[in-house]
Symmetry: C2
Subunit: 500 residues, 2 copies
């Protein structure tokens, strides 16, 4: 038995095979975080705490979110399920929530005797589906305080640990950093990089030593225009990532100080791509690729190594259940079919590089007004994206719209000036129905191979994989846009005679 958990531990203890110490999980989530860290070879930013965690972790290089939007990503992360945990943003006019029958990670853990805690941005609902024993979130606190004030976060972690009983724990620290802020609290800067920095009117976060960056020193990712506006945007983002990094250090130090870090599986990742063009709300690489560090006290073998395995944030629920040896229950949400997790435990990867090659994506909407359903499959270097509403323009979300980077693209486009960008707005808005990219030859996903006859076989194989996954995950868009789903008897797609 590789992972003795709470249920079998009592028995193993009797047999002298198990320590009495509970095994815990710390899940740390960045908000719109990307690869701006030394751990992921960005040499322009200083992230000593993430780098230290990475040296103690298996570093996944091909980890992907299944949905590039805050609430549904968090819902899929906490349920292991696409589609049903909440389709769009929660705490907005969109008001999306999980289906009442969904079994979430905090529910399953609690029922199995694990104490659960959340500190920071929750962004999923309803409460009955996502209950936590200990909760300091935007639902009862200021999200700036519980999500960006790293001293407050440190003290909440301390409070959680001080009130810990003899159960194992699952602590979910969901930073609000490095999310944009210019749309909601512009007084703190575009990334809230000034919040708590000690300047006049900004307050002071005692544990934070702000780092500032010169726009000329940032690394501009290929999908961001290399312009003064975008560089200034990135420099502000770096400062906020620095606060996140120091916060991660403080959280780990609290566990270390309480003597539980060596009993705790630590996972660090982010909910979706960075809030730049082709990033968040897109199913391109910049929108879906995520940092993922997994550090296990019981799996020292591959610490500091890089895994090339293709993994998904849908794998986190199976991983955490595996760590606690909790089986996934048999139940239904719609009709008679038992709910199945399509993800897998990542723990075996901590021992041996696994041969995993395929991950899926499923984006339906960000705000309710932004219906632009997309489905994707990544198989090794090939990525296929199916844009179901391809005839309409890709929708731009409010906080990205007002960002300096996007405003600069808009203004330059209007003025007929060069944008410094690898795309143009027209093609960004209007996308082909099928997009197929081979990142081994075309890392920036600029050559759509979907209509290239040399790739017909690849296209058809990926289309078939995607359709199979959609049926398996009860995707209500499975027949879109060419047909109507007939659900009674045996579910099937019936054509619209639509001539799309």
């Amino acid at each position: 038995m590789r992972h003795p958990g709470p249920t079998c531990c009592a028995l193993l203890l009797v047999l002298g095979l198990c320590q009495a110490r509970p095994r815990n999980v710390l899940l740390i989530l960045a908000d719109d975080g990307g690869f701006e860290s030394g751990a992921y070879n960005n040499s322009a930013i200083s992230t000593p705490h993430l780098d230290a965690l990475a040296r103690h972790s298996l570093i996944f290089r091909n980890a992907f979110t299944s949905v590039s939007s805050c609430s549904p990503s968090r819902a899929s992360l906490l349920t292991g399920l696409p589609q049903v945990g909440g389709r769009g943003r929660r705490r907005t006019v969109s008001h999306f929530g999980a289906f009442d029958a969904v079994r979430s990670l905090p529910q399953l853990l609690s029922q199995a005797g694990v104490r659960t805690g959340i500190i920071g941005k929750k962004h999923v609902g309803p409460q009955a589906v996502y209950p936590f024993d200990f909760a300091y979130t935007e639902e009862n606190s200021s999200v700036l305080q519980v999500g960006r004030n790293i001293t407050r976060i440190k003290l909440l972690v301390r409070k959680f640990l001080q009130t810990q009983d003899d159960r194992p724990f699952f602590l979910y620290v969901a930073f609000h950093d490095p999310h944009r802020c210019g749309h909601s609290q512009p007084q703190y800067g575009v990334f809230c990089e000034k919040f708590g920095n000690g300047e006049s009117g900004m307050g002071r976060i005692p544990d934070w030593t702000p780092q500032t960056y010169s726009p000329q020193d940032v690394l501009v990712p290929y999908f961001v225009p290399d312009t003064p506006a975008a560089r200034a945007d990135l420099a502000a983002q770096y400062t906020t990532i620095g606060r996140l990094d120091q916060g991660v250090g403080l959280v780990l130090q609290e566990l270390r100080g309480a003597g539980v870090l060596n009993d705790t599986l630590v996972i660090f990742t982010s909910d979706n791509g960075i809030p730049f063009p082709s990033g968040r709300t897109n199913l391109y690489w910049p929108g879906t690729a995520e940092p993922l560090l997994v550090s296990s006290p019981e799996h020292p073998k591959r610490r500091g190594q890089v895994s090339e395995a293709y993994v998904s944030l849908l794998d986190l629920t199976p991983t955490i259940l595996d760590w606690f040896s909790i089986p996934y229950p048999s139940y239904t949400i719609f009709g008679s079919e038992t709910v199945q997790l399509t993800g897998r435990s990542l723990l075996p990867a901590l021992e041996t590089e696994p041969p995993w090659t395929t991950v899926f994506g499923s984006q339906s909407l960000h705000e309710v007004t932004m219906s632009y359903p997309m489905r994707s499959v990544q198989h090794r270097s090939f990525r296929l994206v199916h844009n179901l509403s391809f005839r309409m323009p890709f929708p731009i979300d409010q906080d990205f719209y007002v960002s300096p980077t996007f405003q600069d693209i808009l203004n330059r486009t209007t003025a007929g000036q060069p944008t410094g960008w690898y795309k143009d707005l027209h093609h960004y808005y209007y996308r082909a129905r099928w997009e197929l990219y081979d990142q081994s030859q075309d890392p920036h996903e600029t050559q759509n191979l979907a209509s290239d006859p040399r790739f017909t076989q690849v296209l058809e194989m990926l289309q078939a994989q995607l359709a199979k996954w959609q049926w398996e995950t009860h995707d209500p868009w499975v027949c879109a846009p060419d047909g109507v789903l007939e659900e009674k008897l045996s579910p099937q797609c019936r054509p619209l005679h639509n001539e799309l």
Copy 2:
């Protein structure tokens, strides 16, 4: 004071100015019902009970739902608000619900001392927003039993009345008839017209005397193809409407028998257009025009008369609050602006024909997969529809898709045969962004005048009215599809440089 209600009645009673008898409301809703009744001059169908009610009512000829889909229509009916009571279907994969802060009619009535009851199809949620003191709905019963078994409905009304205390009551009887049934319980026929008819395996509803119609005898509305398939579909619908009609008679008889009918405002209407092409889920006339009968024991003056006033189902909440003399509370849902009802009480129309000329429509989606937002304004005979997703095909819902009428259109189109229909599928799927019709010259809405220079002024006036209403009702789509809504500071639309 025209309408002494429960709050002031005690005082007036002391003064000898008010009877002790409480004033009640009975709201009867048909499900996908239309103008198939003698009350609305359909001579092919027999609906003696609706006709009798009409003779005792003001008959509105220009009543419209603001949204042509079951759940959001019921939500708008029970809140007086578009947009916030639940945007799409509730008890499906769509899982739409009201915002928690919304104040609904049952809440407001209950707080003011009115007992509330619902029998039949509820289809809105969550429970906390739509509480009823007495409830037999699909949430605790078979919807066939509480929505189509008119004997069961009669007995539930009797139970409600037998348990009535000295408070006034609001009883909402939401029939499931004449909704289609072929997609879910095909064994009962396409409109559940066989359910309870006494034939083998169909069960028997004791109080129902089924009427059958020959396909050759039905009246085919202009928007339905005159084909054998559609005529058979309509004949089945007529039989189910007959059950509804007899159910209405039974419900009224229960109130009469309990001695409360003469203290009760009776309203009969339907949630959306009939489930035929251009009907339900469309904002054309067949999708939005509703029967509306209002019968007041205190307003005998216009009984049996027809009103030409343009009224909306959004007017029902103000009407019912007015009847009980309950003020609408001051509260907010988003941000700092107080929620305002945009509808008006219909009670003055029972005295004098009012000069009301304008109603609005707001359809966002039916199922979550069917995002096709539309906004409309009807001003006298002019109707303007704004199709926000006009580049994508209009989505076809599942139960209409499998209907004999639509299958016949599909099959004939595929075979290249004449469809007998006033439209063709291509134009039904692909719609102009703006559609402007003048029903005084073009009752079937076939000539789009939006680009006709002679109607530029009308177009611009209606566009301005529509935009004003969208801002007033906090419509998150107010900037779509050309712009992005910026909500902070003063809300404004910012352009996409989109070249739609």
